[in-house]
């Protein structure tokens, strides 16, 4: 879980042309710029899940608390509007123990396509059921707010 092999590390440094912590740091702006590219970000996002999976112990699903931290991490530069609500929802949800890979991947699609406008979300489409629950939860909450007003 969250481990690099020595080979991976060395190859990575070669590709980045860095040989010290200082040079690594200097590369950061470039790397961040690279992340503005949607495709690159998508790759990084998807890879994050596998990276943090504890394969040695046969883990197939990411525990929900790890997932929450990862989400915060991976979105730290460009936080989507719904992220906070989503993470709150997950924390409160009693039965969710792990996040399947499909849900992790689809969350990015969700953020891109639905953004903060939940009205365009269609739960008869092929979204993971956890996202259906989330949207339903959000809609309920908003309705309650309207009522109390």
């Amino acid at each position: 879980m969250c481990k690099f092999t020595k080979d991976e590390f060395v190859t990575g440094c070669k590709n980045l042309k860095v040989d010290s912590i200082k040079s690594m740091r200097s590369k950061f702006p470039d790397m961040e710029a690279e992340m503005q590219n949607k495709e690159c970000f998508k790759n990084l996002y998807k890879w994050t899940y596998k990276f943090c999976l504890d394969c040695e112990n046969g883990q197939r699903t990411l525990p929900v608390d790890v997932a929450i931290s990862l989400w915060k991490l991976v979105f730290s530069r460009c936080e989507p509007t719904l992220l906070q609500d989503w993470l709150e929802f997950l924390e409160k949800h009693p039965t969710v123990k792990g996040i399947p890979k499909d849900t992790w991947d689809m969350f990015l699609n969700f953020v891109e396509q639905v953004g903060d406008d939940l009205t365009i979300y269609d739960d008869t489409e092929a979204w993971p059921s956890l996202l259906d629950d989330f949207v339903e939860h959000e809609n309920d909450r908003k309705n309650q707010n309207v009522k109390t007003d």
């Binding site: 399947p100 890979k101 499909d102 689809m106 489409e125 092929a126 059921s129 259906d132």
Partner: protein, 766 residues
Amino acid sequence: MSSGLGRSSQNRKDTKMRIRAFPMTMDEKYVNNIWALLKNAIQEIQKKNNSGLSFEELYRNAYTMVLHKHGEKLYTGLRVVVTDHLINKVRDDVLAALNNNFLQTLNSAWNDHQTSMVMIRDILMYMDRVYVQQNNVDNVYNLGLIIFRDQVVRNPIIRDHLQTTLLEMVAKERRGEVVDRGAVKNACQMLMVLGIDSRCVYEEDFERPFLEQSAEFFRMESQKFLAENSASVYIKKVEARINEEAERASHYLDKSTEEPIVKVLEDELIGKHMKTIVEMENSGVVHMLENNKTDDLACMYKLCVRVANGLKTMCNCISKYLREQGKALVVEEGEEAKNAITYIQSLLDLKDRFGHFLHESFSDDKLFKQMISGDFEYFINLNAKSPEYLSLFIDDKLKKGVKGMTEQEIENVLDKSMVLFRYLQEKDVFERYYKHHLARRLLLNKSVSDDSEKNMISKLKTECGCQFTSKLEGMFKDMTVSNTINEEFKLFVQQAQVNLSGVDLTVRVLTTGFWPTQSATPRSSIPSAAQTAFEAFRRFYLAKHSGRQLTLQPQLGSADLHATFYGPKKDEGESSNGASAKNPRKHILQVSTYQMCILMLFNNNREKWTFEEIKNHTDIPERELTRALQSLAVGKLAQRILHKDPKTKEIEAGHIFTVNDQFTSKLFRVRIQMVATNKGEAEPERKETRNKVDEDRKHEIEAALVRIMKARKKLQHNVLIAECTEMLKPRFLPSPVVIKKRIEGLIEREYLARSADDRKVYTYVA
């Protein structure tokens, strides 16, 4: 003839013979004479004085005129003469008779006209053939018709009067008076003929106003009929009216009027009041259904068939009623669980009732058939216990002691049950209960016959395919094999002199996969004698089939116990002190295995046991223990083997049980019946069954999904859900949400994947 033509030998090709026209000229005077002759003749004919005329002479004269190219004069002259006659004589006559024999006068004028025109035409036939053809004018007869039509029949006064007269006669007849039908018929035929090649004269001069008047008349009639406020009276009157009008049209109006007049009737009497009649309180369709008025319903049906939407209106009304009835039978308020037998029987009765209506009143109409099926499907699935109840009903019919039914009757009832089965949405739930009840019948030896059981299974097979029934058949096989094993065991015991502690043992060996799955087998401690006997059997069996495992199922077994009761009978008085071992009564008690465990406890010189103690000693699960004790201690007096203190119906931990030494029974063998099971499962068990069903469904959904994806390789989300639902419909109706969760599960286990280009499409992972 050949002398006139001398060229015949020279020109063989030319074989036509020409007769040259007779070179004769006609002078003016000659023509006028001919015409005068003909004119006179025509007039005589018109006066009906034709007997003195020579047909040949007249024909020849007409022929001559036409031949010499004076056809026009002849034709025009004819027209003038005919017109003259019709205006000055005929019309006047008719007008004179306006208030006196009008119709007869008109009819005879018409007949006379026809007759004379025929004769005139015959004389002038050459003109018809030659002049008329060449100049494209009306032929003689038609000319006569046109003039008659325009000058007589369509003279404004005559026209109106004719219309009024005819309509008045129809109205009279409708009121019940007798009219001269022949006169009307003639008049109508006349109008038809006057249209020459069309029926427009009849239509304009008579039919249209007739239909209008009729519509008005029936509008009023419908109000009158409705005021009587009885649907059955109304429809009968309408039926009578329709027959009457149709007959009228075919008899003395023109036959082609039949269809439009009936249509008017249908519109006014039926179409406009459809809903009112059908829904009439206290006499409409609902009333007819409630009171089994099959004939009235048939009459109403025949009327509704005639109008667009008539059938639908009637069908909807009946559907509503049927759904109400069905719902009332099916709904369970609060705690009271229904008796399964009466529940299903009432549904079957309802189906029979409506089947009778369908056949007798609605002529097996497809729309009604579909409606009935749809309604049954609707309300039978309102109650989630329907599958269980149906299984209990069938169970009752397949058990021994089914009273008062012949084999054929039972067969019929089972067939009807299959019809209800088809309406069930949750057929997998039915399957589970059926297996459970079948197991009970087989193990407790309650089946009326193997044949009727197998018969029922083949019915299910026809409906649902082999998958449903293969396990059931396995159960039968186990029973047969068990019988064989028991024979062998008995032989073995005899020969090897095995000690079974005095227990006469019969064992049934059940293959785990076939029989209904039990939650973990309860570990109950059975009395040592029974235990020893069973161990002997186990050794015997495993010697024959090594590698197998045998687990005793105490909840399914039964036992026959020898019991001796030492106490005095109740009516022998209170002499309980004197140990009256005078007349100990012996009985054989047929009990369940659990009950055996309980009763044997009282052998060990211990008279009192509390509920709690019994539970601890026997390890019987509490629910089962309560039931067993209830049957032994708080049931009918004839079954009360034990006393309970306090004597309440409920059983609680601290209650004390003792043997009822005063027990008596007329029978030597006393069967202790378990608390009635016709009410279906109790809540906790039902929940458990429901959970198992849901578990199974998850697997079935996943299997269906994999099967579909394997075949299609790539499929869109919505299509996949639709196909999956369709595939599982014969078993149950899965919700899209549940299917979606299963898809997710399959994605996680890498059976399916999302397509890279479209996240709404799934692909099969080989």
